[in-house]
């Protein structure tokens, strides 16, 4: 038999083998870009994580449907940070070493964001913080690999100072829980307020206090004409329900931080929401300011099954936009250092218009909608009208 295998036969076998082997090499696809998403899915503020997740998913789906980034698909691996720094750190390490993610997204909480930022610094991996607003994240504790989308309390303080001035406030008192989120803003606000606006007193309650009756009396007795409030979410709702029959909102003007302009707060309070209170929201589903915003609202309404979806979706959507654009700009090399270099100074066309990452501070300083919450015809839930986008 072997005598019959002449040269032609050997050549044919070689050619056939080559034909079989070649396609295997050609079909090897480009690996996905993996984003490790530390979302907040349990505990007191779980609604924020539930609100952000669809925004993240929408951006990923849209980018992948358009072919991905340089031919590579985006892949998101989600974990629950639980607002606990030690849990978030352990999960971040797992995402880096076991899941081998290219980028870390989140966590949402300021305390967990600071903790995970250290892990990112240690492991030299890009960490994009979508919603945490603590100054220290890109300030005192900042480093090469950390980027912050949300505005920080020094920026917020400038915005509120201008609002208080416009409202003709003469004496302002501060109130909120006794922790960094409130106290940072108050410290910065004292610096930003003009000399003719006097701060009378700060009323801080222990974090988690639910009985506001004494505070309500103190606020009513205070000589201030305006109260700068930092109670948010469930705490703000409790305060309003307890304070309303005391006539607190008739006696004092209120200006509120803490995303109290978000639709779900107005929905929870209905007609009890203090009429005309100035506050801010990250996104208003009922207001389309740009064509991109309109497109985003329509796509999210379809994805979530409701028109009045949560404002936090926008943080997630924009964050993925920034990460994808940085990867696109970095080209073939998506090492952390290349991504960092691409992210610095990067401008992205977001639903709020073009926004840029400051190359030096690593901050985007996302604008938000500021305005009074008022009763509008045709709805039993109050809305912000007029709404002003403040940078």
């Amino acid at each position: 038999m072997l005598k019959k295998l002449n040269r032609a036969g050997l050549a044919a076998i070689a050619a056939a083998t080559a034909l079989l082997v070649a396609p295997v090499h050609a079909q090897q696809a480009k690996p996905p870009i993996k984003i490790g998403f530390l979302n907040l899915l349990s505990g007191v503020s779980a609604e924020l994580g539930a609100g952000m997740a669809p925004g993240v998913k929408l951006a990923m789906d849209e980018i992948n449907a358009a072919g991905g980034v340089n031919g590579r698909k985006l892949e998101i691996v989600t974990r629950d940070e639980q607002l606990k720094p030690d849990v978030a750190v352990a999960l971040a390490r797992e995402l880096i070493t076991a899941e081998k993610v290219d980028v870390l997204l989140g966590p949402l909480g300021s305390n967990t964001a600071l903790a995970v930022s250290e892990v990112a610094r240690e492991n030299k991996i890009l960490n994009f913080s979508p919603s945490a607003s603590a100054d220290a994240i890109t300030g005192a504790k900042g480093h090469k690999y950390i980027f912050q989308l949300s505005s920080t309390s020094d920026m917020d303080a400038k915005r509120f100072a201008s609002i208080l001035k416009r409202q003709g406030a003469k004496k302002v008192c501060f109130t909120g829980w006794d922790y960094a989120y409130s106290t940072d803003l108050f410290t910065n606000l004292r610096k930003e307020l003009p000399a003719d606006i006097q701060v009378t007193r700060e009323y801080l309650l222990k974090l988690g206090t639910s009985d506001y009756n004494t505070l309500i009396s103190q606020l009513m007795a205070d000589p201030c004409d305006t109260v700068m409030n930092m109670f948010f979410s469930g705490g703000f709702i409790s305060l309003v329900k307890q304070a309303e029959p005391f006539g607190l909102f008739k006696a004092k003007k209120f200006v509120s931080g803490g995303n109290n302009g978000d639709y779900n707060i107005a929905e929870a309070l209905k007609d009890k929401f203090p009429e005309g209170m100035w506050t801010f929201s990250n996104d208003l589903w009922y207001l389309d300011t740009t064509p991109e915003m309109k497109r985003y609202h329509e796509a999210m309404a379809k994805a979530t099954g409701r028109k009045d979806f949560h404002a936090f979706g926008l943080y997630g959507y924009m964050a993925v936009q920034f990460i994808a654009e940085a990867a696109r700009k970095a080209g073939n090399n998506t090492s952390s250092d290349a991504l960092v270099a691409a992210m610095e100074g990067l401008t992205v066309n977001t639903p709020m218009g073009p926004l840029t990452v400051d190359a030096k501070t690593h901050r985007v300083g996302k604008p938000a909608f500021y305005g009074p919450i008022v009763t509008v015809p045709g709805s039993d839930i109050k809305r912000m009208q007029p709404a002003e986008l403040m940078r």
Binding site: V44, D211, N213, A221, G234
Partner: protein, 298 residues
């Protein structure tokens, strides 16, 4: 601050409404001790059950007068059923044992029930709407004050008088007083003492739950509220005298005033003031203001 009479009046009413809210719960705690001789740590947890039940009913049925009172009653009913089971299968075995075992059992209940609340409703703060009929303010001439809080100020004394009449003037009251004095003799007279104890325990638990439900709109609901309220209740019954109804009434009003004015003057040091006052009272009257020394029947 205190030169403003409207402000002072508001604080007095705040103290009274807080005190009366506390009394409704503390009265049932002192009732349990008076008859069953059990220090019921779980009373705070019972209070919490009532509050969470109201929040849940309001979530299901929306805000209305009907849903509010249905929620309050539901809180009482659920707690009553749970208390009956607890008493029948667990607590009844501990009546003649040392106090330590009772404390351990009721304390374990507090921990477990707190965890159940957290598992079902989460760790955040939940608020309850006032019932529409009591949601406005009453114009007192020189100021306005929430109608619901005035309602609490009125309800407290009504509960006190109602309980007093029940204990002094009815047959059940006589049985209760007899059980307090000498349960063995009561048994010898043909009364089912076990059943008396069950009934007292369940009634007291229901009162605690209703007290919790009524407290929910005033101070919101969160999973630590059971632990916080039990400290206040114990201070009240110790200052007032264990087992004394009117002692609890005076103690509750006192604690209401100390808490409100103490917080205004001393902020976070208010809690020290509370304990100082309690120590001072016990110094002068070791059995509490209206308490009597325990008589051991051999």
């Amino acid at each position: 601050m205190f030169s403003n009479p409207t402000f002072v009046a508001m604080q007095v009413l705040n103290s009274l409404s807080l005190g009366m809210n506390l009394f409704i719960i503390a009265s049932s705690l002192t009732l349990i001790y008076g008859v069953l001789r059990i220090i019921n740590f779980a009373h705070g947890a019972f209070y919490m059950v009532g509050a969470y039940m109201l929040v849940q009913v309001l979530t299901w049925m929306g805000t209305s007068n009907l849903s509010f009172w249905a929620g309050v009653l539901a809180g009482g009913a659920v707690m009553g059923a749970v208390a009956w089971l607890l008493e029948r299968f667990f607590l009844s075995r501990l009546y003649d044992k040392e106090h330590l075992l009772q404390l351990l059992f009721t304390f374990a209940l507090v921990l477990m029930m707190g965890d159940v609340m957290r598992m079902v409703w989460g760790k955040g703060q939940l608020s309850a709407d006032y019932p529409p009929a009591l949601s406005g303010a009453v114009n007192l001439g020189f100021m306005q004050y929430p109608a619901y809080l005035l309602f609490l100020c009125v309800l407290g004394p009504l509960v006190a008088v109602g309980l007093w009449l029940g204990i002094e003037r009815t047959r059940w009251g006589r049985i209760l007083r007899a059980a307090r004095l000498d349960r063995e003799m009561l048994g010898a007279l043909g009364i089912d003492v076990k059943r008396v104890f069950s009934v007292i325990f369940v009634i007291a638990a229901v009162m605690a739950a209703i007290g919790g439900a009524l407290a929910a709109p005033r101070a919101s609901v969160e999973s630590e509220m059971g632990a916080l309220i039990i400290m206040d209740c114990f201070i009240i019954v110790i200052m007032g005298g264990l087992g004394s109804l009117w002692g609890a009434f005076i103690g509750a009003i006192g604690l209401g005033f100390i808490t409100v004015f103490g917080t205004l003057l001393l902020e976070e040091w208010e809690i020290a003031l509370v304990y100082l006052v309690m120590i001072a009272v016990l110094f002068v009257r070791p059995w509490g203001l209206l308490g009597k020394p325990e008589v051991e029947r051999v």
